[in-house]
Symmetry: C2
Subunit: 319 residues, 2 copies
DNA sequence: ATCGATCATGTAGTCCAGCTTAACGGTTCA
DNA sequence: TGAACCGTTAAGCTGGACTACATGATCGAT
């Protein structure tokens, strides 16, 4: 294998002209330079120097080697520069896990902002469900996971750090024919007699909905279970019940379903990011965290193409 | 400066997972690996390893470093491959000097052939006059010079090797009104009384012309001196005399000037290549030499666009 | 033509980077 | 809980890399 250190001697010899000058420039004796260059010639298997009078001339093979050496030196400098850039959070790669609405509402806008401010910071996003993603962060497969605080959740591992991102308010989704469909705000207690469509048992959305109803003083009558908001809206439009949907989902009222704010103390989905304790100070991760926090605070979420937005997509399905 | 040897340890650690496995793979003790990686972390100024249970995990900074390391390793392998390729004359760069007609008649076709057979062999051609070019070959600025053997020439330096390329035959150039203009071959003695247009004193062409006339038994009456063949043909067309032109110049008869072969023993320009003695065995130079010899032997010289060929160019000037 | 200066390269000796051995603290798994 | 494993550290040793010096060759100036 070629010794890069010896390539440096060759480069210096090419620009200085003599071994003596090379040695002086590198604070060595000419003998050392001569020996090292002889070793380089031996390990590459080609002659590198030709005697020319009382000095030496680089052989054509040495010229070929030098061209590659310059590329190598440049690459080494780039590596050092990138380590410095990493210290400032400008380069690196971060693997993020998030649930669907967090991807479109928080991660995507953050990713857009980072692409502007730190183009060489690579973000990879994966849709990993909530209990597993934290294990993957601990295992090092992921660097950051976005989750929801709720009663049924396993407490966060002590080696993970919780960083609050957003308290996502819930709204009620009612069919147009519902008595409260035209109210500006809806008290949750008014839905005490309605049938509810909520997520499958064990999911964060279901826990949050149950907690909100409990706070309003009743236990919701669950009739249907659906995780996907498009499916939920379809069921509501079909008159199968009402639901609580997070504002982050980016849904909007249609001609068959209306979304209304909740009166009084508004129930929320507390959304947070989890990282390995200590790793949040790493420059690349702290840069991503800052972008996520900023995106969560930003009033207008990522404006996806209309066809993929929940409301319109549902309208297509129902039409 | 980053030590490439240590980067290898990091790469191995990344793929093997543990320091112990890395050490075993590289026939070292875990202690040595640990020490070298610690040294790498110190010289780069970043932490590279995080303890993870009883093993270690690469930090994000180490991942950044690894990406560069892989590029470096690939570049090193490319360098070794190119040294091997150099041994076969497939890569390298050769600086060639030649006079004008040799460039178009020999070097250009050789360059075309080499571009096909050895695309990574870089040839640079320079138009350097005859006495100086040999000094530049000796000095190492050039690798090969093409010259003409003639009486007035300084004998070739003993450190240079002469490789014959081509015995370029001369032809007579006559105005259409000349008595021999319609002869199929022209005996040189028949031009004893004509006035001659030849190159400037000291040039190879003039020496060759004088030697040819001397062999025919007369001393040419020189009236005009011109080096450029287009200028010579213009003068002939204007009725200012006759000339001897080399076939390699690629000239052809026009409606005002005819070219005719010389009867009897045809005078020639002996064209040769000169390289530093010993260097002709170097693979890159021997490849170029072989291409030059082949191009010189090839019956059809490089077929340049018509507008730059001597004959047509002259026709344009005279029209 | 000669002498001194300069240069590359051997040889012998010295020194330190990098290795090994041994010991230790921490973690995992039975 | 103990045994096995892992990574790190300390101490000592070895070989590679450097220096000092000598040699042979070349160049430039006198």
């Amino acid at each position: 294998m070629i010794d890069v250190r010896r390539l440096r001697l060759l480069r210096e010899l090419d620009s200085r002209g003599t071994i003596a000058a090379t040695a002086q420039a590198l604070h060595l004796t000419p003998s050392a330079v001569s020996q090292q260059l002889a070793a380089l010639a031996k390990e590459t298997g080609v002659r590198l120097l030709d005697p020319a009078g009382r000095r030496v001339r680089l052989t054509p093979a040495a010229q070929v080697l030098l061209e590659h050496a310059d590329i190598l030196f440049a690459q080494l400098e780039r590596a050092e520069a990138d380590l410095a850039a990493f210290d400032e959070g400008r380069v690196g790669s971060v693997a993020v896990a998030a649930f669907t609405t967090a991807i479109s509402g928080i991660v995507a806008p953050a990713l857009l902002a980072l692409r502007e401010s730190r183009p060489r910071l690579r973000l990879s996003v994966t849709d990993v469900p909530e209990p597993a993603c934290f294990d993957q962060v601990l295992g090092g497969e992921l660097d950051l996971a976005i989750g929801i605080t709720h009663a049924g959740a396993r407490p966060l591992d002590s080696r993970l750090l919780r960083i609050p991102l957003l308290d996502d308010p819930l709204e009620v989704a009612l069919p147009v024919g519902h008595p409260y469909a035209s109210a500006s705000v809806v008290p949750l207690e008014a839905l005490r007699a309605d049938e509810f469509i909520v997520s499958r048992p064990g999911t964060a959305c279901r826990e949050v909905a149950h907690a909100a109803c409990a706070a309003a003083g009743f236990v919701p009558q669950v009739r249907h279970n659906a995780d996907d908001f498009v499916a939920i809206l379809t069921l509501i439009a079909a008159g199968c019940g009402v639901s609580l949907v997070p504002r982050l989902a980016g849904l909007s009222s249609t001609d068959q379903v209306v979304l209304r704010p909740i009166a009084g103390s508004v129930p929320i989905r507390p959304i947070f990011a989890a990282v390995r304790r200590g790793s949040h100070q790493a420059p690349h991760l702290s840069a991503v965290l800052a972008a996520l926090v900023a995106a969560a605070r930003s009033p207008s979420p990522y404006d996806a193409p209309a066809s993929v937005r929940g409301g319109e997509a549902w309208a297509v399905h129902s039409g």
